[in-house]
Amino acid sequence: MYQLNQVSKVFEGRTIAVDDLDLKVRRGEKLALIGPSGAGKTTLFRMLNLTIPPTSGTLLFDGLNVSSLHGRRLREVRRRIGTVYQQHNLVPRLQVVHNVLSGRLGAWSIWQAVRSLIQPREVTLAYEALSQVGIPEKLYDRTETLSGGQQQRVAIARALVQNPEVILADEPVSSVDPALAAGIVKLLIELSETYRKTLIMNLHSVDLALAHFPRIIGLRDGKISFDLPAAEVTDEHLAALYVGSQTEIGEEVPSLAELRPVRSCQPRLTT
């Protein structure tokens, strides 16, 4: 699905966010990216969903070199990649139905899009997606009235409606209640299994990653620190990954034994 050769991203000619990275992801694979803050995970995701171009190196999506794409061709490839963000990135004043259906914007003409704001099209599609994530009754609610966890479900419904081949989830549970985090991770895994999607998830929480994903990649200073099946990740690997960096709860190095779900998310809760 993805093939990255010596991909680097340098901001303003100085800050190296991603450094000479090689990565291969097969179709249908499920993998988790872990690593300390500032390791370049989000930058990598923005390159994977074609929001920002690499400074150097080649990025192949489904065998297609995307570096020269622009305009309509670029948008067509973006349609095949769905993204779920840490901050939901929904439009707060719009009704849930419009936020869900905005996953269809890549397929609609601008007139269809404008008309849909007045009289929503493909409402059944939105309703089904919301049922998949368990909140069908919120269809016509204003999005800003929903809780953080519900908003994240709306964002997942948007990705479902988009019907992409790959789902990228950039720390999808960092801003929801820790108790709900595992539920949302499981939901994303189940959905991508049912619909045979490739799933790449960025996680703060090492234990969630180890518990649910077959393949784990540790990212540190923009480089791959390890790329292993979950069963082969050891305390030493994690120690090397997090050495010298403060985790969210102030521990120096998390170990498998110490990690508990309640500690594994950022303490900040959104309401």
């Binding site: 622009h70 490839v77 990135n89």
Partner: protein, 295 residues
Amino acid sequence: MPSYAPSAPASLALPLRRSSYFPIVFSVLFLLTFAGSYKLAQVQPLLLFEAEGRRNIWKFVAGMFPPDLSWSFLSLLGRPILETIQISIMGTVVAVAIGFPLGLLATSSLTFKGILNEREMASSRPRALFYKASYLLARAALSLFRTIPEFIWAFMFVRAVGLGPFPGVLAIGIAYAGMLGKVYSEMLEHVNPGPLEALQATGASKLAIIVYGLMPQALPNVVSYTLYRWECAVRASAILGFVGAGGIGQQFEISMRMFDFSQVITLVAILFVMVAGVDALSARVRRAILGRQRV
């Protein structure tokens, strides 16, 4: 027993207070500027109280009463009042029609900066230059529109299309397009970019991003500011008649020239009621919109 008297070492430990001449220099400069302006602008408050001034003021004020409320005069005013309101509405509509598209082009986060443009700007150099150029052109047009006051625009349009309300509409349309476009672009630049990035990642076009992400976020501010500009347009269209651009201003000008101050006071009262009415109306609409926002 410890002594609290200040001793030499203690005072040495105090951080050095940095003194600077800047405040003094600037104070002196300010005073000089003030004094110079006072002289050059020929400010002579006493002129108001000299015999000549007193007589004129008295003539003016005494002439105002009683206000001219005769039917023959009032019946003349119906049309100009309506015309003034219509000029302000049409002028604002024209201003939005011109100012909004230019405002979009003048929004840097939309045309060439930031997350929405990273890929397009990197993909080819000529295209990047084209986007940047359209941004600069839009900004230049907007600032040209608003640096020339609506009064001067009206003067020019009266020469171009003749007397009547239409030059007034054009004058307000152009001058206010400049202000609206500038403020719109600032409002649009300050919306939360997160949802826009997400929409772009679904493959949405720029227009779709504007319709689904930008406008819903900026709408309350945009509507509220447009209403405020409409209030200003009512005031402006009331005086545009002085240069022959229709509305109640024309009647103002005639009454002033005839030294018929009893008519002037009636007109002032009417203008006051009109502006206050528009004020109240737009305040109500604004409250409705902003109130809904906080739900």
